[in-house]
C-alpha cells in the first residue's frame, strides 16, 4: 500500500526510515526485464549498518560518513549551522553566483506540481512522494520562510505546514539532495521558470560549503584529489602519459595505423581535455580521438599539468568554490600552453562547467574560447579529410543525450548529423534532444557508490533511461543482433555500465554502449578491423 507523505513528516521520528522503495511499485520494464523478483533489488541494510549509519530516508545510504549527533547540544549545533548556511546562501557576498536564480525559484512557485511528471526519478519510483522535485524544494522554501524571513515563526504557525528544523529534517534533506540528477527536466517543464534542480544544488552547496559534508567521491576523492594530484581517478601526470603511451602502442598494433598522442605542445590550436576516467575505463574512446585528430590534421595537444588531463569538474554538482577552483585551473593550463581554444572531451558536465557556468568566473586572459566536442567532431567528420564507409556501422544505434550537453548547453544537432551520416540504422529514443531522460547518473551520482547507493541508481534513477533504450530497440531486442547505445559522456557511460551489468542487457539483448568517437573511427575506411569491440565484457 503506497504511503502518502506530508511535508511535515520530514521532521518526525528522526531515526525511522521515512518510506521504502518497493521493487513492484517501480515503473515496469518490458520483457525480458519485467521480472523484478529475479533481480537482487536494493540491498537491505544490516542491523549493524542501521545502528551506525544515518538511514532515515529511503533505506539507501549515499554517504556513510554523515555524522549522527551524540546529544541534544550537538543537534542544536547542526540546526544553528544550517541557519547560518541559509543566511549565507541568501547573501550577495557568499552566493552572488546563484542568488538571483535562487530567489526567483524560492519565492514564485505556484505549487501546481506540473514539474513532477517530468522527473525521471519520481516517475520511475512509482511516484514516491519524497522524490517529487517539489518535495525537498517546498521544505527548503518553508524553512527559509520560517527561520530567515521577518516574523517567520509566527507566520509558519498561522499558515500551517510548519516545518521543524531538527536533526531529522537536516539529515533527510542531505540525503534527498542526492536523490536528484540535477537533470533539470523539472525546470524545463515549469511554467513559472522555477528551477527545482537549482534548489537541490543550493542545498548540496549549503551542506558542503558550511558543514563540509559532501559525498567522498565528489569532494575528498573528487575535486580535492583533482587539484592535488591531477584527477579524481588518482591518475598522476606521469602515469597518465605512460598509460597513453602504452595505449598508443597497443592500438598502433591493433589498427595498423600509427597512433601517437601529442602532449604539452605549446601554441597548439586545440587543447583537448579528456576525462581521465576514459583513459582508465574506456581507453578506446581516448584513442579514437587521437586517430581522428591526427587523420584530420588538427594541430592539437593534451596537457600533463595537474588537472590538465582530466576535464571533470565535480564542483558543478555540489560546491561553487570547488567549481571555480577547478575551472580556473583548466583555463590557466590552456593559457600557459598558449593554445587557441580548449575542446571538451566526451564529458557532459565538463561541457556545462567550463563552457557556460564558469564563463562568468573568468576575466582577462583567462577568457579562452572553449568548444564542445560535438561541433569539433562534426567539423572533422565533414571536413572531407577522412574517408568513411557507413556500412561498417550497419547495426542499430541509438543516441543517449547527456543532459549537460543538450538541455543545459543547447548542443543538439551536430552529434545527430554525424550519426545520421555514419550509422544507417540510427534511431532516436523517445523523448530525446532537450527533452531526453537523464541516464540516472547525472548530478555526480554516477561516480557515487557508497553503501547501497549503486542499487538505487540502477533500480530507480536509471530506470526510465533503461526503459527508453529498450523501447528504442524494441524491433530487434533479441541478443542475436548487436546494438549500440552512443553515450558521448564519461559519466553517462559509467552509469550505463552499472545499468547494463545489473540487468544483463548485453547477454539478454545484445546491447552495448560507448562513445561517439569510437563509432566514427569504426566507420573509417582506413581502419581495417572493427574498432568497436562487441565481444569483450565492458
Amino acid at each position: 500500500m503506497k504511503k502518502h507523505l506530508k511535508l511535515t513528516d520530514i521532521s518526525k521520528d528522526g531515526d525511522e526510515q521515512l518510506d521504502e522503495i518497493n521493487i513492484d511499485e517501480l515503473v515496469p520494464l518490458p520483457p525480458p526485464y519485467d521480472k523484478g523478483e529475479e533481480l537482487p533489488g536494493i540491498k537491505q541494510l544490516t542491523d549493524d549498518q542501521r545502528e551506525r549509519l544515518v538511514c532515515n530516508l529511503d533505506g539507501v545510504v549515499s554517504y556513510a560518513a554523515l555524522p549522527k549527533p551524540a546529544n541534544k547540544e550537538e543537534e542544536e549545533k547542526y540546526v544553528g549551522q544550517f541557519i547560518a548556511g541559509l543566511k549565507k546562501l541568501l547573501s550577495k557576498e557568499n552566493n552572488w553566483t546563484f542568488l538571483q536564480p535562487l530567489l526567483l525559484s524560492i519565492d514564485y512557485c505556484a505549487r501546481c506540481q506540473t514539474c513532477n511528471d517530468a522527473c525521471p526519478v519520481y516517475l520511475a519510483s512509482g511516484e514516491k512522494d519524497f522524490y517529487r522535485p517539489t518535495y525537498r524544494s517546498e521544505i527548503f522554501r518553508r524553512i527559509i520562510n520560517k527561520y530567515i524571513k521577518p516574523a517567520g515563526k509566527l507566520r509558519a504557525k498561522l499558515g500551517g505546514g510548519d516545518i521543524e528544523l531538527n536533526w531529522a529534517t537536516i539529515s533527510r534533506l542531505y540525503e534527498l539532495s542526492y536523490r536528484c540528477n540535477l537533470c533539470r527536466r523539472c525546470a524545463q517543464s515549469c511554467p513559472m521558470g522555477v528551477d527545482n534542480a537549482l534548489i537541490t544544488r543550493e542545498l548540496r552547496k549549503l551542506f558542503s560549503q558550511e558543514f563540509g559534508w559532501a559525498p567522498k567521491e565528489l569532494h575528498e576523492k573528487g575535486t580535492v584529489l583533482q587539484l592535488e594530484v591531477g584527477s579524481p581517478t588518482g591518475l598522476r601526470p606521469n602515469v597518465a602519459i605512460d598509460n597513453l603511451k602504452f595505449l598508443d602502442e597497443e592500438f598502433t598494433e591493433s589498427t595498423g595505423i600509427r597512433v601517437e598522442t601529442p602532449w604539452d605542445k605549446e601554441g597548439a590550436d586545440v587543447l583537448l581535455i579528456h576525462s581521465a576516467g576514459d583513459i582508465i575505463s574506456f581507453p578506446e574512446s581516448v584513442i579514437a580521438f587521437t586517430i581522428l585528430c591526427n587523420a584530420a590534421g588538427v594541430n592539437w595537444t593534451l596537457s600533463s599539468e595537474v588537472g590538465g588531463y582530466d576535464g571533470v569538474n565535480y564542483g558543478l554538482f555540489y560546491d561553487d568554490v570547488q567549481l571555480a577552483k577547478v575551472a580556473v585551473r583548466h583555463v590557466q593550463i590552456a593559457r600557459k600552453l598558449r593554445v587557441k581554444k580548449i575542446v571538451m572531451g566526451e564529458c557532459g558536465h565538463e561541457h556545462k562547467a567550463l563552457i557556460t557556468v564558469a564563463d562568468r568566473l573568468l576575466t582577462g586572459d583567462l577568457i579562452i574560447p572553449r568548444e564542445s566536442v560535438m561541433t569539433f567532431l562534426e567539423d572533422i567528420v565533414f571536413s572531407g579529410k577522412i574517408k568513411f564507409d557507413p556500412t561498417k556501422n550497419n547495426f542499430p544505434v541509438t543516441l543517449h543525450d547527456p543532459c549537460n550537453v543538450v538541455r543545459n548547453l543547447g548542443i543538439v544537432e551536430p552529434q545527430r548529423r554525424i550519426l545520421r551520416y555514419l550509422c544507417p540504422q540510427f534511431r532516436e529514443m523517445t523523448p530525446h534532444g532537450v527533452d531526453n531522460y537523464c541516464c540516472g547518473g547525472g548530478g555526480g551520482l554516477s561516480v557515487m557508490s557508497d553503501v547501497n547507493f549503486t542499487d538505487w541508481k540502477v533500480n530507480v534513477s536509471g530506470r526510465m533511461k533503461f526503459k527508453q533504450i529498450l523501447e528504442a530497440f524494441a524491433d530487434r531486442l533479441g541478443p542475436e543482433v548487436g546494438k549500440y547505445v552512443c553515450a558521448p559522456c564519461l559519466n553517462c557511460k559509467l552509469q550505463l555500465r552499472d545499468l547494463f551489468k545489473y540487468y544483463g542487457a548485453r547477454e539478454k539483448s545484445g546491447i552495448i554502449y560507448g562513445g561517439l568517437a569510437e563509432l566514427i573511427v569504426n566507420a573509417m575506411v582506413e581502419i581495417k578491423k572493427p574498432f568497436i569491440n562487441w565481444e569483450e565484457e565492458q
Partner: protein
Amino acid sequence: MSLFLVVLTYFAYVFIIAMYVVKAIKIARLPLHLRWELYPVIYEPKSKYGSGFQEDEKGWRKSQGKKLRKGILYLLKENLRFNDYFKSNRGYWLVLFPWHIGFILIVAFHILCFFGALVIIAGNPVTANSVYVIGKIFYYCILITGVFSFIAGAFGSIGLILKRQSDKNLKAFATPQNYFNYIFTLIVFLSGLYAWIFADPTFAQYRDFWRGLLTLSPVSVEPATAVHIILFSLFLVYLPFTRSMHYITKFFAFFWVRWDDRPNFRGSKVERNITGLLNKPVTWSAPHIKSGRTWAEITAEEKYHEKTS
C-alpha cells in the same frame, strides 16, 4: 463615503505599484549570476530543436536584436494560454485558466474604465447609444470585460478550492493562505457580479465613479457597487503579499536565468561585473574553503604548475 472610496482607490493603486516596483528593483539589482541557461532558449535561431548558439556562433550574433520581442511574445502567449497546464493537468487547467482570465479581464476592465473616464472628460459620452463610435466601443468593451471577468473569476475561484481539495498532489502542497486567496478572490468577483446584476447593469455608476476619481469630484454610488470598489481596493493592497508577482517575475526568471546565455568577452560589461564580484569576501565555514578571503584569492590560490609525480 464617496470621498473615502476615492482615497482608498488612489491608495490601493499607489500601494500596489510602489510595492511591485520595489520588489522588481530588488530582484533586478541582485548581482550577476553564473550562467545557468536551459534549452531551448526560445529566441535563438535554432531553438525549434533546442539548439543554442554554441552550435553556431555566427548565426547567434545576428539574431541578437530580435531576442527581446521574440521572448516577450512567447511569454505573453504562455500567460494567456496556460499551455503547460493544459498538457499536464487538464482538470487543474479547467479551473486555473478561468481564474487567471478573470484577473486579466478585471485588470483590462479597470484600464478601460480609466481610459473610458478620459473619453467622458473629453466630452464624449460612453453609452450604448453614444453618437461617438469611441463612446460605443468603450461602453461595450467595459461591459464585456467586466461581466466576463466576474463570471470567469468566480467560477475559477470555486473550482480551485474544490480542485485543491480533491487532487491529492495539489492538496499536499496547499497552504491555508491558498484557500484564503481563493475565498478572497471569490468574494471580490462575486461582489462585482452582484453589483452588476442588482445595482449597475450597464456599469454606468462605475464609469461615473472613475470620472469622479480622475476629476477629483467624488460621486456617490449604490452600496453594492461601493462594496465591490472597497473589496477590489483591498484586494490590490493584498496582492503584493501573495505570489501574484509571478506574472512579472516569470519574465525575469526566463530572461535573466533560463534564457540568459550572454557570453563573457574580454572588455565586456559582463567581464567588468565579474571582476567586481570576484572581490567579494567569502565567509563559508567548511574547512576546505579557508574563508576570510575573496573569491578571486580563493580561486587563484591553487598553485598548479608543479607536476606531481
